[in-house]
Amino acid sequence: MKSGKFWAWVVFALGAAYFFIPLIATVEFSMRMRRGAYSFDAYQIVLGDPRFQATFGYSVLAAVFTIILGVLIVVPAAYWIRLRLPQLRPIVEFITLLPLVIPAIVIVFGYIRMYGSNSPLPFLATDMGTNALLVIGYAMLALPYMYRAVDTGLRTIDVRTLTEAAQILGAGWGTIIGRVILPNVLIAVLSGAFLTFAIVIGEFTMASLLNRPAFGPYLQNVGANRAYEPAALAIIAFAITWGCMSLIQILSRFAPRSANRPN
């Protein structure tokens, strides 16, 4: 028993080392810009760079629109599948997994061919159209995470009975989704939203090939041309992702408890 515990700690320590050593090394390297002393110079340069602010702002805005689009598509779809079309669930689950299987580069080349300026749907003919296409592409990339998060949330409530209870009290579909279903899966939706945010902030392929001024291509550009700044950017990106994960954890504490599962 004691020896088992010892080896469990050894495996844990090895796993932690595998994760933390490169991270610590990156932090250490990002602080060595000034000769002979540790400093935050690389962070100051990165955060003061107007291109950082512009690309980060662009990606945050794209993430917000992606989240709105994802919620508008996924919440009603997952709700309807649970309520009326449960037999379609395996098919929909398979479809939502496709973005993990099909490389983003394949999808983006498909977009360029389908939505070029000479196509019937010329998204790529204008900047706004390209931005919209990028958001649509991001929503698709985030689909596996958003769908699973929302579906898990719906699983914790009795969707059918709550819907019927609201219907019999006079509620229409808008009221049912907006005032009964969404508030009860809000934490799950937020989890999906933060995962979407983390994906969009670091995404490179789509933004680069659609030639959009997003944070991903900026990260790549800085990484190819500078020494210390890429390390600082990597740590900043890590911090953003971890911040999102922490928010999911904090918000999940405020989830409404189900009437049937009081604990």
Binding site: E164, I168, L169, G170, V180, P256, A259
Partner: protein, 354 residues
């Protein structure tokens, strides 16, 4: 009978090739409390769901207050419903749950608050307004669900096995409370249950259902004492069934085992030589000859169970076994297994099952 408030006319419901409700008919008077009683899968909940609008009948129509509501959506019917699983909205407080239907109807906030307070008083939980459903017991949640259902003053109240998820003690007190609130408000109510005691104790009338049909509709007294079919007789209450043969249809005599019983006037439509099922409620049978009981059968005691205040005795009569209860008397020892015994009953209490 007054003009029916709810009229279910020739309703049928099929799911694919399976018919779960077949030619169901029922008229319910205003303010009446009618129970649908039957085993699982008999179609009682499906009928209720068709009245609520959650299922559309394959044929037939449903009329409420003279208006055909068969094709109306549930949110257009002005019907209140209480579900087995409470179905309170977990994200809303008790007051918000009760006021939900009123808010949807666009009622002013002051009026909603007043109605919610009134409902909380009716269900005797005035201090619970700000609690969330998870902070309440099962019984309290179901009372809130009842208040939520009746707050918008629905024309019809539907109760879908509302007591099934509660423990026995709460079930009894809540069913009495439901009945008293229903009487006070005079709201026409349909109550679905598989518990015969529940149905017998609170209903004005009961529709006993089996195989998607109403086997019998009647008052609890009629259902219990004059069951129309073998199923109703067996399903409601405990019944002793004796197989007998008509020996003389004109004289009304039936042979049970080797003994003869007179059932004058009860053998309509039977011919001499027909086999019949005869039924007796345990409380209609006495051990030994008793004054006022015109019929008797002899047998042998096969089982004796001492249950405290009551002694349950089983008597074998040929191939039939009759169960009866006698009160415990400290001065008289209980009968012994193997003893010869005579049971007596009034022939008027004997039911002939078709």
């Amino acid at each position: 009978m007054a003009e029916p408030f709810l009229s279910i006319q020739h309703v049928r419901k099929s799911f694919g090739a399976t018919t779960v409700v077949e030619d169901f008919n029922l008229d319910v008077e205003p303010g009446e409390f009618v129970s649908f009683l039957g085993p699982s899968g008999c179609g009682k909940t499906t009928v209720l769901r068709m009245v609520a609008g959650f299922e559309e009948p394959s044929a037939g129509k449903i009329v409420v207050g003279g208006k055909d509501i068969t094709r109306l959506k549930p949110n257009q019917r002005n019907v209140g419903m209480v579900f087995q699983a409470y179905a309170l909205f977990p994200n809303l407080t008790v007051a918000q749950n009760i006021g939900f239907g009123l808010k949807v109807a666009g009622m002013a906030k002051a009026n909603i608050d007043a109605r919610v307070a009134e409902m909380l008083d009716i269900i005797k939980l005035p201090q619970m307004a700000d609690r969330y459903p998870y902070q309440l017991s099962g019984g309290q949640q179901q009372r809130i669900a009842l208040a939520r259902a009746i707050a918008p003053k629905p024309k019809l109240l539907l109760l879908d096995e509302p007591l099934s998820a509660l423990d026995a003690k709460v079930r009894v007190s809540l069913r009495e409370e439901i009945r008293s609130i229903q009487k006070k408000l005079g709201i026409t109510t349909i109550f679905v249950t598989h518990d015969q005691e529940e149905a017998l104790s609170i209903s004005d009338r009961i529709a006993v259902m089996y195989g998607g049909k109403a086997e019998q509709v009647g008052t609890p007294f009629e259902i219990y004492n004059r069951p129309a079919t073998k199923f109703v007789a067996n399903f409601v209450g405990t019944l002793n069934v004796l197989e007998g043969k008509v020996t003389d249809a004109a004289a009304g005599t039936v042979q049970v085992n080797t003994q003869e019983v007179s059932l004058k006037g009860k053998l309509n439509g039977s011919k001499s030589g027909d086999m019949l099922s005869l039924a007796l409620r345990p409380e209609a049978i006495s051990l030994g000859r008793q004054p006022g009981r015109d019929s008797s059968l002899s047998g042998e005691i096969s089982e004796v169970h001492f249950l405290g205040s009551v002694i349950r005795v089983r008597v074998g009569i040929g191939g039939n076994t009759v169960s009866l209860d006698t009160f415990n008397s400290p001065a008289t020892p209980p009968p012994a297994v193997g003893e010869k015994a005579e049971i007596s009953f009034s022939s008027s209490d004997m039911l002939v099952l078709h």
